[in-house]
Amino acid sequence: MGKSSKDKRDVYYRLAKEEGWRARSAFKLLQINEDFNLFEGVKKVVDLCAAPGSWSQVLARKLRGGDVKNDDVKIVAVDLQAMAPIPGVIQLQGDITKKSTAQEIISHFEGEKADLVVCDGAPDVTGLHDIDEYIQAQLLLAALNITTHVLRTGGTFVAKIFRGKDVTLLYSQLRIFFPLVAIFKPRSSRNSSIEAFVVCQNYSPPAGYIPNMSNPLLDHKYDTDYNNLEGPNRVIVPFLACGDLSGFDSDRTYPLNLEDGKDYVYHPPTQGPIKPPYEEACQLRKTDQLAKVVDPKKASSESSDKSKGDTTTKGSSIDSLPDCLDEDLEFDPSEQDVLEDLTELQIG
């Protein structure tokens, strides 16, 4: 499989590289903006879980219009990891569950609060859907919690959400803080992916609500009146898909020649993956240094007496060969639609 095969399969991956975005998710924010006019009148923005930085790139390009020195606009990007600098974006390395982080954000706005908070964070999915959805929900709630500290009344909150079995519980939670909540699926997000975005407008916390970081915000429970597990009552917020159908379809397989007379040129990814947790393990695997089944005799350093002169006793090395079986399944990228969407270019 050549390096261009992913370009064929995923048109947005290819476009992201061609347009210099750090991840294809940049298109998602651009498309949300097309429908919601998110950036209108926005001066102060917080980008939570910003790495690798594609949303910050979009914010910088859209809000500053290329003018790096525009002091009116302040973009603060927060992430636990460090990321490559982006001109015009203030970077803040911190934990979004800490009050100090919220205070630091506000200090960059000179005490004022943000007009818009965006969060494109997602965990590395495990594959067990209930756990993945739970963790994503907790990430969103943590983002919401810090948002209640830094967002001005009337402001907008945009975050990634997994549309899973208990998504209605999150909706009802968000509705407490925002009268307008919509689920939005940009065209650049695949049909097969459970990922979508909540666009929450007109922040209006309940009367007397005091933001509190010392206890985590937990998701709602099913009850009989408002949100049933199996019954007819469920809070289902309106779903919106990006209106413009003329753009590229993320599910469609395109030929490499998108336009007549314009030849396909392979572009390397704009930015390589940030140090992933499995970096060392991958290195060991590549150099064939992962632990193999050992000879038990050698392991216990016993020299066994050989009963016959020319008889050799060995531990069979049944499993010491390369994993000829797993290799195919594990690395056939065509099987990894959902995963790719979530980890963006990092898989590269």
């Binding site: 590395d124 899973g164 898909a241 947790p277 499995y278 970096e279 089944v293 038990p296 006793t313 797993d326």
Partner: protein, 1151 residues
Amino acid sequence: MEQKHAIQGDFMTGPVTALHTVGDNIVLAGIGSYLHSFVISEQKSNSCLLVLPCRCIHGIREFTNETDVHTFAVFGEKCVTVVDYHSAAQSGKNGGPLDHSDYSITITTRAQMTEFEDWIWDAVFLKPKDSCHLALALGHNSVILWDWKHARLVEKVSCVESCILYCAKFINTQWDCLILAAGTVFNEILLWSPKGQRSQSGHVNVIKSLKGHQGVIFSVDFSHQKQMMCSASDDRSIRLWQFSFDNHSNLHETEIPLESWENSSYTCVHVLYGHSARVWDVRLLTCKLVSVGEDSTCCVWNYEGDVLQKFKGHRGKSIWSLSVDEKERYVVTGGGDASVRLWYLSSRSERSNYITQSLQLQQTSSEKEDDYPRSVSLLSYNEIIIITNKGFLYLHDIEKERWLTLMNDPDYRSYTVMSVAPAQQSCVVLGNIHGKLRIFLAEGSQPVWKSKDWNIYDGKIMSIHWLSGTRLLTTGPEGGIKLWNFDVDTLNLELDEQYILPECKQRWVSAASLSHGSLICGDRGGTIHIYQLGSEFRNPSQSFPKIHGKTGVTNIICHKGNVYTSGRDGCYRVFSHDDGHMTLLNTHRVYKGFEWIDKLQIADDGADYHIFGFQSSDFVLWSVNRNQKLLQIPCGGGHRSWDCSFRGDHFRFVYQKTREVVVCDTRLEQNQLKLKNALHGREITCVKILDANTEGCIVATGSEDTSVQISAIRCNEFGVKEIVCLEHLSGHISSVRALSLSPSSKDSINKKSTLMFSAGGRAQLLVWRLTIRDSTSIVTENLCMHMIGQTQKKGKTRMWKLQQIKLNPETRFMDLSSVQLSSVWSDFPAHLHLLASACSDAFVRFYIFTEEKKELIPFLESSLHEHCVLKVCCLKRQCGSDSVIYILSAATDGCIAFWKVNKKDIHETVKKFSQPNLDNRIFETCSFVKCDIHESSANNFNLREDLLDKESMWGVLPSNHKQHILKSDDRNDSQCSDEGQVSNKEQDSGMSVANMESNSSKENSIQRTKHVFFMKHHQSGVNGLDYIHLQDDDYLIASGGDDNALVVTSVRINSEGVKVITTGSYLCAHSTEITGVKFLSPSKLISVSIDQRLILWSVNITESRIQLQQMSCKFVCVADISNIDCQKLNNDLFTVVISGEGLATCQIHGI
């Protein structure tokens, strides 16, 4: 409230997310919401109970008490319940042999399911035993003390660090010294105690935080005995932490008090990398540790950090759960493939070691000194027979270490072929370079060896094969095959039949077998020939040229009417054999990298296949059913002369290596028990019901693991519903996304036969025929393979150059729908089918499949949608001779298009295709009839026109994957030489330059005849589409979208076209994307969604609108639901099958 329309879940399988061993013979498993109990000795499930409705079980913890009743806390997500387990085997033992009733058990609920505010990561029953307190570790690092008997919250304590956890593990069992080891999203393990020091906010401080992992922590375990902790992480490593406690009192037996923890110190003693992906769980044992991971491997380590064993066998991705019995004899693992497997932990020195021994030929005379063995075989487990270069035939008894020289004949110098009779008697046959055959036979209990000679050829005997104890097959010069009858008692050899082996490179029979009056031979050129016994005709009646590739056929066996062949192409093939005619049913590749297959054996009465062969420098015995190597012996590479024999699970392997004979003794790696069968290794993307009744059903499933599986769901002897794999079909090179069924022309009342189309990634489409023998077996045949834009299965460079426009091989088939043409137009033969496909490159492609010729003819295509097409559905409009097939297609743009297929067009295409072409082979490129667009709302009409013009250039040639069955008449004068076969192949695919040119000229005669109706129903992708006939010309069409909406439209379809009558929709039908809709009746509809609900809707049609009303909603314990299928069992009962990360069936009553 009583619901009139009840949806009842009756079966579910999926990832095994929790395991717990009970005593010696019971394993409890959590699969979805169900708690299963397995009996190890029976390898069966004896009970299954819904314990956590609508949740997935993630943990089972035992309450240790001394009674016969076991009590367990079962938890998952935010819920916990307590159950009792009563076993009949333990209470009612009377010394006699156990039967099924002895394994009957009852599981009763002690404490109702309780939901907590946060995710539960661990639970422990606290001491003292009568306290009925359960401690629970929650998702944001807090601990709850819960009185389970009185369903009362006693206390909740939170840690100062309230970050998200990925795992937690309680250490100790008393509240006063309870320690929680919490694995956080920030790569740390935090140790804290609910009784620990509190900060000002009332939260408890952390005692220790263990840093070092580079990723989130997935599992933690602690061993009191070793005072060691281990952790598994996203960084794919396992870390071992040695603790030392100041208090030197004996901490081994008792619990380590809080102060000791506070004063403890720890060091990370090992960082272990052994898994090739993430590590999900790890467990510390007395002198080993066990880990499972995303690489579907279970590793056993010692405390020095060496891997002692690796258990591989789970299919696809991830082993999710792990349990070790109390005596540490075995590990039980539960996988994403829905299987539960048991592995013995005994060390390798006791098991499966092998002893190799090199045999020295007797050194008695000087003449023998430079002698060496030429061929070796096992006469019995203990007796090796060796023929040497100098013409010595030795018999060596391995146990007694005794040598016997049977022969010393210079006639048999330098060249001898040898074969050992398969029957009980000791009988060896030799053939030499002069055409002389010599048979040695041992007689009596103190064997006396007799021998007799025959001259059977005027030249070299090329090969000898025993077909049975009395039938012998020889090949001589110029392909002369002779079949002999051998009388053991009289030592008489009688010529029975003579045949000619067609010419090939090394012209001799390499494998042979007798089956139902036919002789089946394989040659060194990979060809299989069939000869009829008792026929005058000496040539093969049927041949499969080069079916096993260049390196030859290695083994042919017959079993239950089928013929199995193996070859060095890494494949084994299954043929049916009726009336002297063989039909290829299936090709199976064993696994990538294992090419040199030398022998195939049917094991476990047909339930398993054992494959013997060489992989790189090892001899391998592979079990297909276990998905595991039973043996792997490093022998330096492939050996031409080898033999093996079993005695129980002892295995003896002998081979000849340059100048020596090596004997290798070992034991089979029977270290795996399958308690529950595997389904698919990855997500199931599509499901179809093949057959169903009230007892159960047979389903076909396609998966991202690139396989299609046919399974039966039925009750076992314990009355527990289980899924049994009938056939695992490989052949797809990428994920399978769609299945479609159509009745086969071979379908009859007593033999249900169905055509199955399967398609998916890499533009690949396969056609199969499935014939259900009975509920336990099925015959599958692979009829045809097609790839969009590829002209030949193994394209030659020449062909690729000719192919001007290559289609994108990354194109995925998204959906299929098929219809048997004779069901619409009774004058069509039963073997013609229309197949509609949805493709990711924005095309809908229609094909005609002729079952008779096993060929798929491209028929129509269009890229009207301009978006990835997701769904297709064939609608039959039946009105006598005016019957028409409409095809509905839906794409990611939310639009549904109607396509019309006329009888005339199909007729013409079929006719054209069956006309003889240049090479008098059946081949003709069909010209694509383009669909014209009759549509008002298309704003970019011109662009589409352009596209259509472009399409006309896309000359797609039909792939022509045909079996190379050549009737005897055809074959008579055709030489079976290498070149001859190549040209034959070419003819088959019908590709020649002249042909290509004629094709391209035909491309210009494209008609645009069809018209289209178009409607936009959804904001984005349509993932569910179905129709039902209402009355007269009226049809109901239902669609479910990515936008959560369900739309039902009533359309009138008649000669004037398609017209929408009324439409009704339910915008928030589900809370997430709808992935399946099905009509049960014109007034009832079901839908499923990623939100894991199955909803039954009533459809009320009035003149002005259609109203949808939710009648019933059922939670389905299968994540990522991808598809549904349903079948009517009787007027009141439907069975529904739902696929996703697992499979579930439901029954719907009261329609």
